[in-house]
């Protein structure tokens, strides 16, 4: 399958086709949709200490990241209203046991910072 489309791509080309390329395309208007850097820190609501190993995953997305030893996380996401994020303790009691928490991001700039406090289970 992959080889077929590669063969079609290379095989079907001609020099004249290369010259007729429409130049006056200006991409998508600003603010219609863009990529957002989401950063944040996850802490224990009880102790105020950062929590390592919390899984952070946007809804309807294949990405997932884990908080580092300072509770920090970061990832990029496509800007849309109402992006759901789930914070989940998946390492059992290794860093204490914390209840799963969900939050919704509604407003976007090109960078957002999220502070999350998790309850003990």
């Amino acid at each position: 399958m992959t080889k077929n489309w590669k063969r079609n791509l290379i095989g079907g080309l001609s020099f004249t086709s290369m010259l007729f390329i429409f130049q006056a395309c200006y991409g998508t208007p600003h603010d219609v949709g863009y990529d957002v850097l989401v950063e944040g820190i996850v802490k224990s609501k009880t102790t105020g200490q950062p929590i390592k190993g919390i899984k952070v995953a946007p809804y309807n997305d294949m990405q997932q990241v884990f908080t580092d030893e300072n509770g920090n996380f970061s990832f990029y996401i496509f800007a849309e209203n109402g992006i759901g994020l789930r914070f989940e303790d998946v390492d059992s009691t290794q860093n204490g046991g914390f209840a799963t928490k969900d939050t919704i991001l509604n407003t976007f700039t090109s960078q957002v910072f999220v502070n999350i406090d998790l309850d003990n289970k």
Binding site: L19, F20, C25, H30
Partner: protein, 356 residues
Amino acid sequence: MQSKINLQKKLGLKLFRHYKDTQTQLHDLKYLFWECTLNCNFNCLHCGSSCGTSQSNDLHYQLIVKELVLIKERIGKNLPHIVITGGEPLMRKDIELFGAEISKLGFTWGMVTNGSLLSHERFSALAESGLTAMTISLDGLKESHNWLRNNILSFDKTISAIKTVLENSSINFDVATCITLKNINELEAIHELLLSLGVKNWRIFTIDPIGRAKVHKELDINGEVLIRTLEFIKKAKKRKQISINYGCDGFLGHFEGEVRDEFYFCKAGINIASILHDGSVGACPNINKQLVQGNILNDSLINIWNKNFQVFRIRDWTKTGQCAACNNYNYCQGNGICLRDLENNKVMKCHSKMIG
């Protein structure tokens, strides 16, 4: 020679590459261009298409509405944003009818125009039909703009159109400027002009060395001019008087993260599709027509989007020649697909190399 990228930026680019890979796997359709006509009232020097020189056999807008109904049935929520382009979209009289119908379906829509046909009445009609975004091209001060647009009245009409939009609406609006050897020394003056008009968003592009740009050497900028352009954008960003960004068409080496609000990401065929004037379906409208993936006259766009487009989503075929030897390939992935010379499978313009 490749541009040197510092460690912190490399870490950011690596994180961003993970996001790009995820978006590529998901390949959600976010933007859909409709090249509604090839007819144009101008004959711009930088336009490599047949705009303005031939009659376009335009599709009835109901054919596009039909495709959008199918997209809505399949996708449900988070519908793609529709961008109407051309030719000159305002040459068509039925844009408002199309806009009103798709707004009712829940789609947001915008358009790219030269502005010359945008009267107050026309703009009101578009706004009432649900227009949410507009881009108008302004390619310099009067002389250089009219030169590129090949029309002595273009500048005045464009300024008038910008005023019309800003006086009447709060839609997402931006001005797009193509940098040439004619207007490179005017960037500060254009900046002042846009501020005086009240423009809040400005996008700056360079013209690719293809089509008529091969004939008009003033259009083919060199590395020095590109660097001057990027340095200007950096400086203007710091002043924060206007939201300014370089266009989407290339990986910018050590300028990444400094002249755009986001890192470089060619979303052609990953988040972006187009219906061209004859019904053919591709990624961005300025991409080589050899990469057309189907035609809505034979199949639905959503089927074509889901079945085809592999050439845009698996880009290892671009890792040849200078790209194969480039340290930045993982971030760049062969530059924008619109910049690929498909016959020789090489990149026609490497911004990173130009920057040095």
